[in-house]
């Protein structure tokens, strides 16, 4: 990862006709530890180093990635990116790509309180063994799982416009899960949230999750859900826990607000979007309680960094302001198409992938109601927590989500536990039915480490900070409408 290697690649690309080129060198380390039923099912440490070259020729981008850092390898990757760009230009009906408008020289590093590497491996394993053991409240817990993921990536982007941005991104996550099996039924509980606690930072993120302290409760809840009555079908007021609101934002706002989707760049796979450009500044996406912002400077956000993978400086911008659609997640090329500037929402999974628009940190701003008062004027409703099933159509309108656990709400009070809760709706009516978002005391940066998009498929790490929220007159119980259960 040297300036000389970068210069060689950029010179080769220029000699091959690139009007602009950049190269992103990345060296990444990841660790996965998973304990499953008392056995260490994964104790793995992966290292990967390589680079990806983007070349722009006649308005078309070509991308070539390689892990060959010899001079011949550098030359070959640069030449391959140019050949790919030229082949793309030969069939393009119009020019789309342009060089980035600005260049930067900068460095950034994720704030880390405790370096994960400073924690002895034996301590990391022991934490999970202890937490997993706690899940087994009785023999009906057929599967107990506890896991830690640690990521540490160092990358430098060199652009032929003079950009030289070096960043170190550290992200950590952990969780526990219990699956209870009895009498032909299987029920799962996960903690924290529905996938674990994933944030940017070091070992302090794992400590914050307090897995061992919560394991027994999670095991007992899995058993309790087995015995709980089926969630009813019908129209109910709905209160969603914070992690489920996070997923609702992710699927029904985050993806449809990706401007490449809006423009049809994902049409064959992830789909398009109902947030069409002629709806900008007009569409009543949600109620006035709903304000959703991109904040790629958010402390603890999984997508937090100083510059995106095109070299654009990160910041804060609105997507939904008081219920109205006012913005998108954008790259340089897509922003230019609608007369705006990129808001730095471009990321690549690793050196081996081309940068593309990702939803990054997209957050529902907190409201003013304390969480415990969300139930106050609900006469007949359901409170759901922890996602277990999620599906939405390819324009992001018709959705159906299922949760691991629910409680009925009767006359303002949380009542008995329910199992197999599902709810469904259409995105704008659903968000317009939101009449309360809990206040900042229950607002939390929920990270998602496994967001898929693109072809070749890339996995993105993103955060949707959210608080619990209340929705009126929602279709509940549809997942079992076929007479099952």
């Amino acid at each position: 990862m040297s300036d000389a290697s970068a210069a060689r690649i950029l010179d080769t690309a220029a000699a091959r006709g690139a009007e602009y080129a950049d190269v992103r060198f990345e060296s990444a380390r990841s660790e996965r530890i998973e304990v499953r039923n008392g056995v260490v099912a994964a104790l793995a440490d992966a290292a990967s180093t390589g680079y990806g070259v983007r070349a722009l020729i006649d308005g078309a981008w070509g991308f070539a990635a390689s892990d060959d850092q010899s001079d011949a390898g550098l030359d070959a990757a640069a030449a391959r990116a140019c050949a790919i760009a030229r082949a793309g230009a030969s069939i393009a009906r119009r020019r789309v790509g342009s060089p980035p408008p600005l260049s930067y020289v900068a460095e950034y590093a994720t704030p880390v309180q405790r370096e994960p590497s400073s924690v002895p491996l034996g301590e990391r394993v022991a934490l999970l063994l202890d937490a997993e053991r706690g899940l087994h409240a009785d023999a009906r817990i057929a599967v107990g799982r506890a896991w830690i993921d640690l990521w540490d990536s160092r990358k430098t982007l060199f652009g032929s416009n003079g950009t030289r941005v070096t960043q170190r991104i550290v992200q950590s996550g952990s969780g526990v899960q219990a699956m209870a099996v009895d009498a032909g039924d299987a029920q799962t509980r996960t903690y924290p949230g529905d996938i674990g606690l994933y944030q940017s930072g070091g070992w302090e993120i794992v400590e914050k999750a307090a897995l061992s302290e919560n394991a027994q409760r999670i095991g007992e809840e899995a058993l309790a859900v087995l015995r709980a009555p089926q969630c009813p079908s019908g129209t109910f007021d709905l209160v969603l826990g914070g992690s489920q609101v996070s997923l609702q934002i992710h699927e029904s706002c985050g993806h449809p607000a990706e401007l490449d989707r809006v423009m049809g760049w994902e049409a064959n796979f992830s789909g398009t979007s109902f947030l069409e450009i002629d709806q900008l500044d007009r569409l009543q996406y949600g109620s006035p309680q709903v304000t959703i912002v991109i904040d790629n400077t958010l402390p603890l956000g999984m997508a937090t960094c100083a510059y995106d993978d095109e070299g654009t400086k990160t910041g804060v911008s609105d997507v939904i302001r008081n219920g109205i659609l006012v913005g998108y997640e954008m790259s340089n090329d897509t922003a230019r198409e609608i007369g705006r500037e990129s808001n730095a929402c471009v990321r690549a999974q690793s050196w081996a992938f081309t940068p593309m628009i990702r939803m990054c940190n997209l957050n529902l701003l907190p409201g003013s109601v304390p969480f415990e008062h969300l139930f106050d004027d609900v006469r007949d409703g359901v409170y759901m927590e922890s996602n277990r099933s999620w599906s939405i159509d390819d324009r992001r309108l018709n959705f159906q989500f299922g949760c691991e656990i629910a409680w009925e709400i009767k006359n303002g009070k949380r009542g008995r536990m329910l199992k197999n809760p599902t709810y469904a709706g259409m995105t704008p009516p659903f968000w317009n039915s939101c009449d309360a978002v809990a206040d900042a005391r229950s607002w939390f940066a929920w990270g998602t480490p496994n967001c898929g998009k693109g072809e070749p498929m890339q996995v993105g790490r993103t955060t949707q900070a959210a608080a619990p929220a209340r929705f009126r007159n929602v279709a509940v119980g549809v997942g079992y409408a076929g007479g099952h259960g």
């Binding site: 992966a46 981008w61 070509g62 009906r93 796979f269 072809e455 070749p456």
Partner: protein
């Protein structure tokens, strides 16, 4: 390299997995290429076992220092791992030769210009049909070598080529794709024409009421549905109680006409003849005439459950258990056109989108139709319908179904299905969407 790593390892048992890939893909939309990429890379993974303690490390650096550090990391992790009393010895078998045409040189060497020409044929079809298109043309090659200190040594090279096309008009879209190991077999113009045909037939879609419908799932749709049943045939899911068949094998769970296999050597989807432990993969019957016969195993679950190792291990570390990666469903006797002709009123489904499990034990899944859903009346396709959401138990679907006589490969790299079209009675749609 594998032998050198094995010789250098101080562990009691060591496994080396070397993977190399060159993946290229030209993605397009609105008749431009919006993602045009190539990635060349390798990964070396070492699994070290000391007295039942396992550690795994991987790297993509192949110099001497990196490989030495790789072994040291795997061994260090193993020393800190708790002992697993069920850890069996690393397996040794004699892998079968690769099936014919698993590797095609022309695919491995396909140029950016070749992919551009495939895309250009699609662009021309879109412009003639007055619509826009999105999709990709891809070519890829991969190679694996797996060796262990007990004597296993297996190598495989494979290729994959695909064209994926969505045609989009004012109020309808159509989709088609083709997967093969040989790029020369791809007729991009024909794939584009199929997508155009669906786009045109789906124009001016009508709304239909959700509820139970007779559906005819084209192979792409049926293959997507079936993928959500695959994990139930893992010995891990079976053992832990989360599979529909955890209550017992050799029982009838499906209709008499349902037979399903895991077959890496099917001519439409030839794949690797050994698993990621280097052990030979069996061409295994999973379901015969509705009766579940087998679940797939690896060395760990074969030992734990006292069953035969069927050679279905995933790469270490693996917390998902063994998996069937090459599902094949036996065909029926009627052609797809005959299934349609025999339908009084039903829906013909091109593909599904965003299927997710709603209920694990009952194998209830939800998802949407997409890119070509048609109303069938009196044996004829009469027009397009707006898309619908379903909630359906796959188990129940396979108790009342009929299959077409044509099998199609419906997915690419890594996980493939070879399936016919399926006609299913009482398929439950629960809501509709706006397009």
């Amino acid at each position: 390299m594998a032998r050198a790593i094995l010789e250098r390892s101080p562990a009691e048992q060591t496994e080396v997995l070397i993977g190399q890939s060159d993946d290229t893909l030209t993605r397009f939309t609105h008749q431009i290429s919006n993602q045009n990429v190539a990635a060349l890379g390798a990964q070396i993974t070492v699994r070290a076992i000391l007295a039942g303690r396992t550690g795994v490390a991987s790297t993509n650096s192949v110099d001497e220092d990196a490989l030495r550090a790789l072994v040291e990391r795997a061994v260090a992790m193993a020393r800190l791992a708790p002992k697993d009393p069920l850890q069996p010895p690393l397996p040794v078998g004699k892998p079968a030769p690769a099936p014919p045409n698993a590797y095609v040189e022309a695919t491995a060497r396909a140029s950016p210009e070749r992919r551009a020409q495939l895309c250009k044929a699609v662009f021309s079809a879109a412009e003639r049909a007055d619509c826009w298109c999105a999709g990709y043309a891809s070519t890829a090659s991969s190679a694996y070598t797996i060796a262990n200190s007990n004597g296993a040594l297996a190598s495989f090279e494979g290729t994959d080529a695909a064209v994926n096309v969505k045609m989009i008009g004012t109020d309808s879209s159509g989709w088609a794709e083709e997967h093969t190991t040989d790029v020369a077999r791809i007729d991009a113009a024909a794939v584009a024409a199929r997508a155009v045909g669906k786009r045109l037939r789906g124009a001016a879609p009508r709304s239909v009421e959700p509820g139970p419908w007779c559906v005819i799932l084209e192979p792409a749709a049926f293959g997507e549905l079936l993928a959500y049943l695959a994990g139930h045939f893992s010995a891990q899911s079976y053992d832990e109680g989360s599979s529909f068949c955890s209550e017992g094998l050799e029982r009838r769970y499906f209709g008499e006409n349902v037979s399903m296999f895991d077959d890496y050597a099917h001519p439409l989807a030839p794949g690797m003849p050994f698993d990621f432990e280097g052990f030979p993969t069996q061409r295994l019957p999973l379901v015969e005439h509705g009766v579940v016969r087998n679940v797939v195993t690896d060395s760990y679950y074969a030992h734990k459950l006292d069953r035969e190792n069927t050679g279905h291990a995933l790469p270490a570390p693996n917390s998902y258990g063994p998996q069937p990666l090459h599902l094949v469903v036996a065909p029926g006797t009627a052609r797809l056109e005959e299934l349609i002709a025999g339908t009084a009123r039903g829906l013909l489904v091109t593909r599904f989108w965003y299927i997710r499990t709603v209920d694990q034990k009952q194998a209830i899944v939800t998802g949407m139709t997409r890119d070509g859903t048609f109303l069938v009346e009196h044996g004829r396709v009469v027009g397009g319908v707006r898309n619908l959401r379903f909630n359906q138990s796959i188990l129940e679907a396979l108790r009342a179904c009929e299959f077409s006589s044509e099998q199609v490969r419906t997915a690419g790299y890594g996980f493939s299905t070879v399936v016919p079209a399926a006609k299913i009675d009482g398929f439950t749609f629960t809501s509709a969407t706006e397009f």
